[in-house]
């Protein structure tokens, strides 16, 4: 029961990556569906399903969001900034989790799944970071003040930079 609750909380955090208006409308239903999958199939199967579903649906919903113009420019930039922040710290958490499981459990399906998640979020946070920076710098220059989205983007620099640096350092040290 407690494990299910932890999984649900993690999923709720992952959901923050979706556009705000989409979450407002379907967030609760998605959480309920996730809980149903957890109950029927168990946590590993549920997360595998989410991992397969997440990249495509995230890209599709954000693209829809940008195309439909449902939100104003400021709100959109805030949302992208928030998405960078969540993706950045989630990437750092996954990096720590990957190390922890690698040390505690050794190499196995669990650590491979976590590393795959880490890779995906590392890439996602990089792409989101650049996108957010471009949009928010533009907005800040027009309004002559730091936009909220830019502040969020700046706060997300440490975890993202750390993760990319960790990968570079690992690559260099393994190269020799």
């Amino acid at each position: 029961m407690k494990i299910d609750k932890i999984n649900s909380v993690i999923y709720k955090i992952v959901l923050k990556l979706y556009p705000a208006y989409y979450l407002e409308e379907y967030g609760e239903s998605m959480e309920q569906t996730f809980r149903d999958i957890l109950t029927d199939d168990g946590a590993p199967a549920a997360w595998i399903k989410i991992a397969r579903d997440l990249p495509g649906s995230l890209i599709k919903e954000h693209f829809d969001n940008l195309r439909s113009g449902v939100v104003g420019i400021t709100k959109r930039n805030n949302n992208i900034g928030l998405a960078v922040l969540v993706a950045g710290y989630l990437t750092l958490a996954l990096w720590l989790l990957a190390i922890f499981t690698g040390v505690e459990l050794g190499l196995g399906i669990v650590s491979y799944v976590i590393v795959a998640f880490f890779g995906f979020f590392l890439l996602l946070s990089g792409v989101l970071f650049v996108t957010s920076l471009v949009f928010n710098v533009k907005e800040s220059r027009v309004s002559h003040k730091l936009s909220k989205g830019l502040k969020l983007t700046l706060i997300s620099i440490p975890p993202i930079a750390f993760c990319y640096l960790a990968i570079v350092v690992k690559g260099l040290t393994e190269g020799h």
Binding site: Y22, Y26, S29, M30, Q32, T33, L54, G56, S57, E61
Partner: protein, 102 residues
């Protein structure tokens, strides 16, 4: 949409039914499911309902609209015609189209 032809269902039921009907080939996650629901709602192919006898107030139920039923039957007719044509011309004999006849 096929998952809603028999009765109204909530999201997870739609997901399970689509998986069952496709013999396990269609495995959706919540993101894809609700993205499709959003688009079908926008196109007025489906609509939200309270569910059978307000079974579970927390859940949103969905059912096909008249427009959705029309669209689905037209699509099925289109597929049926395509299969009939392929069978008549004996296209792709290696996949034995008669096995898939409706």
């Amino acid at each position: 949409m096929l998952a809603l032809i028999e009765r109204e269902r909530h999201g997870y039921e739609i997901m399970k039914q689509a998986e069952y009907d496709s013999g396990g080939k269609i495995k959706m996650g919540p993101g894809t499911l609700y993205g499709n629901i959003k688009r079908m709602l926008a196109d007025r192919m489906i609509e939200e309902t309270n569910g059978p006898d307000n079974e579970d107030e927390r859940r949103k139920y969905y059912r096909l609209t008249g427009k959705g039923k029309n669209f689905l039957s037209m699509e099925l007719l289109r597929y049926d015609n395509a299969v009939k044509l392929a069978r008549r011309k004996n296209l792709f004999p290696e996949i034995k189209l008669q096995e898939f006849s409706l």
